[in-house]
Symmetry: C2
Subunit: 603 residues, 2 copies
């Protein structure tokens, strides 16, 4: 596929952007993705000018193919503990790359197993005399350019299949290095450097290389938004076509989307898609603003960007995986067919909860940032909301004079109530965590991280709603959709809201003592209002049948014809009698018949 795309690029003189779109439209997890998204950006952003001049054109034109070797068999998230070494040899001006143990084997490296000719290796830099100055990056040739054979001193292979048949097209690989020498120039030394004699030159800013990681995380928000959009489109289309239950006056069974237990699962997914696609847009703007400052050495926006993208990365990957499965399951039996299309998306998207920072580790960083903001705010002699960044703006509620909102019957119809109470939840949870920090419970990081991120998102959603400038009918529908998002977040956070007394059981006008009841009733009402627009709101994503690749999500609604057609094309159906008949089935049948004929079978 990849070779053909670049062949077409040459034939049609496609631009880099057009080629990138063509690859994206294939929607396959191809090895070239690792070259384009990991190897090439790292090389260009951290290679020295001379190294970039020497190899840059070949990399850009894919005259060499690369991968990024970071993770090891025994070490993942904690990069500081990587074992691979790069020892500088001043006598020959070389580095010696070495894998000292089984657990130091590079592992999981995408495009390494069979494809790459070169790689950027993350290894501990050891200076003459043995001083370890921590992980640095080195450009290493892996395979011969003549015959693609692995170079001497290196052992490379594929690490085998992934769970759920995910990432099948990618050759995740392993590599071990046995004292492999590379020239000194091959260290990526735009920031840190080694002198010819083996002296170490510190990078000017320790965090200058973080930008790329933040860009990937920011992009994950938009990526998750499109994933949720696909899940919503396929499942809403199918449950609109699918009928089940007693026949109505029209002689037809009921559309499954009209069942509360179905629409209460699917419409929130639709709202997630709208929220995270919008959020992704504004996040990329913030990223551009930060990058401009970074380019002039100003790292002031880095911490805020890091806190925001960490929390959002956890949120969108956890929620995206969850939504894909909720949508698949809502489609009943046919959702389990590969032809439904959501299974493969799930299998490929699943590791997003682990890669680019394991979600449970990132939660800690979100909490750490929140506690820091909390302490900064109250360590001032005159605490003021003016000092708060967008990601910690909810903390203003802890300043003197603020009171939690009181629940009334009409509260849920007002999106600002939901936003306010979600901000209160975050503020109270952070304060509580700061107070009880020495005696935490086991899941506190997850709860605090979630509350903080949801408060930030709620604030952003409020701004999106304020800025809606579409025709009034459309704006109202979108307003309902965004409100549905907010209220379902509130519902999922009820335990915290109730246990901190932000909501309280009362006897209200409907006679119920359950404060969640009015919330849930209004969520149901919103869903019913949105139902007539569900197909329109998902059609608006503009997916083609090719992009959805789902028999259940076809635009014309002919789902049964599509399932039938795909089954006819199933390779197993090319022959009427399976090749296993003579070998396996017939012997079984004959054995059983013989046993019966011999009277050996008792019932």
């Amino acid at each position: 596929m990849t070779n053909r795309i670049y062949e077409l690029q040459e034939i049609h003189n496609w631009s880099a952007e057009e080629t990138s779109l063509a690859i994206t439209s294939l929607d396959e997890q191809l090895p070239i993705g690792l070259h384009n998204v990991a190897f090439q950006p790292v090389f260009f952003s951290q290679g020295s000018p001379s190294l970039v001049a020497k190899y840059g054109p070949l990399i850009a034109a894919r005259g060499i193919l690369g991968c990024y070797l970071q993770t090891e068999l025994g070490h993942g998230t904690n990069v500081a503990q990587l074992e691979t070494t790069a020892t500088y040899i001043p006598e020959t001006r070389e580095f010696e790359i070495n894998s000292p143990s089984l657990t130091s084997s590079k592992w999981w490296i995408g495009a390494l197993g069979k494809t790459s000719t070169h790689g950027v290796v993350q290894a501990k830099l050891i200076l003459p005399g043995g001083k370890d100055v921590g992980p640095h990056l080195f450009f290493v040739q892996l395979r011969s350019m003549d015959n693609h054979k692995v170079l001497p001193g290196i052992v490379i292979g594929d690490i085998g299949p992934k769970a759920l048949a995910g990432f099948s097209p990618t050759d995740n690989g392993f590599a071990r290095f046995d004292h492999v020498r590379i020239p000194k120039e091959n260290m990526l030394s735009k920031f840190a450097q080694v002198t010819d004699e083996g002296g170490y030159v510190q990078p000017p800013h320790a965090k200058l290389s973080y930008g790329g990681m933040l860009y990937i995380r920011a992009n994950m928000v938009t990526g998750a938004g499109w994933m949720m959009a696909k899940a919503a489109t396929v499942s809403l289309r199918y449950t609109t076509v699918r009928r089940q239950g007693e026949k109505g006056p029209d002689g037809l069974e009921r559309q499954t989307i009209t069942y509360p237990s179905v629409y209460i699962r699917l419409l929130p997914i639709l709202s997630h898609a709208y929220v995270f696609l919008q959020l992704g847009k504004s996040l990329l703007k913030s990223f551009d603003a930060m990058s401009k400052r970074l380019a002039s050495g100003d790292t002031s926006l880095l911490a805020e960007m890091h806190a925001t993208t960490s929390g959002l990365k956890v949120m969108v990957s956890t929620l995206g995986v969850h939504d894909l499965e909720v949508a698949r399951r809502s489609m009943g039996g046919h959702g389990y067919s590969a032809f439904a299309g959501l299974g493969r998306l799930y299998a490929d998207y699943l590791p997003s909860t682990t890669y680019e920072g394991d979600n449970f580790v990132l939660d800690q960083q979100v909490v750490r940032a929140a506690l820091k903001s909390y302490k900064n705010l109250f360590s001032s002699s005159t605490p003021s909301a003016a000092s708060l960044s967008p990601s910690s703006y909810y903390l203003r509620l802890l300043l003197p004079g603020s009171q939690p909102p009181q629940l009334k019957d009409s509260s849920w119809k007002d999106a600002t109530f939901a936003i306010n109470i979600l901000e209160w939840r975050a503020a109270v949870l952070v304060r509580e965590h700061a107070k009880t920090f020495s005696q935490p419970d086991a899941s506190v990081n997850q709860r605090v991280s979630k509350a903080v991120t949801e408060a930030f998102i709620a604030g952003q959603v409020g701004q999106i709603m304020d800025n809606l400038s579409l025709p009034i009918g459309t704006s109202n529908v979108l307003r309902s959709l965004y409100t549905l998002y907010l209220l379902t977040v509130v519902e999922a956070g009820l335990a915290d809201l109730l246990s901190f007394g932000l909501l309280r059981p009362t006897t209200n006008s409907s006679g119920s003592s359950d404060p969640a009841r009015s919330l849930r009733l209004y969520i149901s009402q919103l869903c019913q209002e949105l139902l007539p627009n569900a197909i329109g709101l998902s059609d608006a994503f503009g997916f083609t049948d090719w992009e959805l690749d789902s028999a259940l999500g076809v635009f014309d609604g002919k789902v049964y014809e599509a399932l039938w057609q795909r089954a006819q094309e199933e390779p197993l159906n090319r022959t009427e009698v399976t090749s296993g008949y003579e070998e396996s089935i017939k012997p079984m049948l004959l054995r059983g018949q013989r046993q019966v004929a011999q009277g050996r079978v008792k019932l």
Copy 2:
């Protein structure tokens, strides 16, 4: 595999039970499973004595291979709407099986696609004159016994791959029937019958045929227990071996199981395994008691068994799927390797949330049974707990004189408090749902069903704890494990408990206003107490490495060696240079190099 097993059965003269164990130990979703678990039991339990005499021995000896054709392309859970017809033709004493539409195609039928020679077809019985008396079962030959070709008038094929590569070994198939005639004797007529003239003879008890379905559901509890046990064993072993973080005084990084965010996820899975394995045992005893009564025409235990198994089926399948993924994700990056072993279990277990009754449909039945019990209790002039069955025993709390327990600092150490409060939650939720029945919210069935089932399980767990008769040390460990189960259920139910005022925010002795804090702290404490026994408690399941089939769950803890070894056996690694090199990789490399040489690449 299957043919070899039956060959070995003949060679070694294995009993049916030994053969069944051999098949189970293969742990593959084989087509023969459908013959053994669906086709054969239905045939024997519902076929007439003469039909059983004629085909029973062949079926028992697998001289013919069968499948069970119920689900259709357009119809699943709602069997009443199936479209396939079986029209009785008195002139020839035959039934004519027909698929009148695309949507009537039998679909998803396991072992139909390539394997089965015969099947039991669920079809609407149409009497002469056109009267439709609903779905009945018919024994139909599908393929020639001479050459395995599909018989005239029938179209059969495989429906294609399943999501996540699940159930790969099973040939789920489709079938369409074009007015296919079968002899009258082929109707499974142990209960309902058709006279030669076309008269309809009603079955003596409408629900006599339900027993089999309940047996499958009861077995699902034990099956889920073993699934959870596998997930717990693999993940606890790996996270005990895996180290990550800063190095301690021993020069080693920290074992990942010692992180609160890891053990808080894994120890509850261990508790689920113990709970549901025990529950499965007692459920099969109840099933045997019911079966004995059913055999004498006494259906009095059927409703209770139906209510119990419906709720438990929903619970164990939802929780089992969830636990498999939680365990997989707790293992970080390596959890996504197919060699971790949990991915395939997940893919195969996933449809359990849909088959044997979609969970969201079954929830309705649980709620219906609960409301019926509630109304029965209070329609009596002297309501009494004596009339309550085990599955509705929690409703006694609504009788005059009962008061919800008051939370004290020590409450969570007392398992009966947790059991009591879970029963109160169910009772209050059912009462509330009965009161507001005309205006339900969209997710009420799911919440009520869960609360009712968890109250039942909590009561059962209380009995298990009361009956522990092991050495005191072992009993205490198990008591902690069962308490952990109860308290994590309480924690997940906090929103209901708080919104109904069964728990309330208060200022307690620790100064916190959050009533959930003491609960969560005690859960953390229980986890820490259990940690030293986690490996022992999972070793106690007695899994062999063969059964776990996981590089990360190997008994000797040499997980990295196991991953390395499996990677070496990966077929892709048989050749150093992939066959795709000449075809795809080399042309790309040469194209890129040519573009650079021609000076066409700008950076």
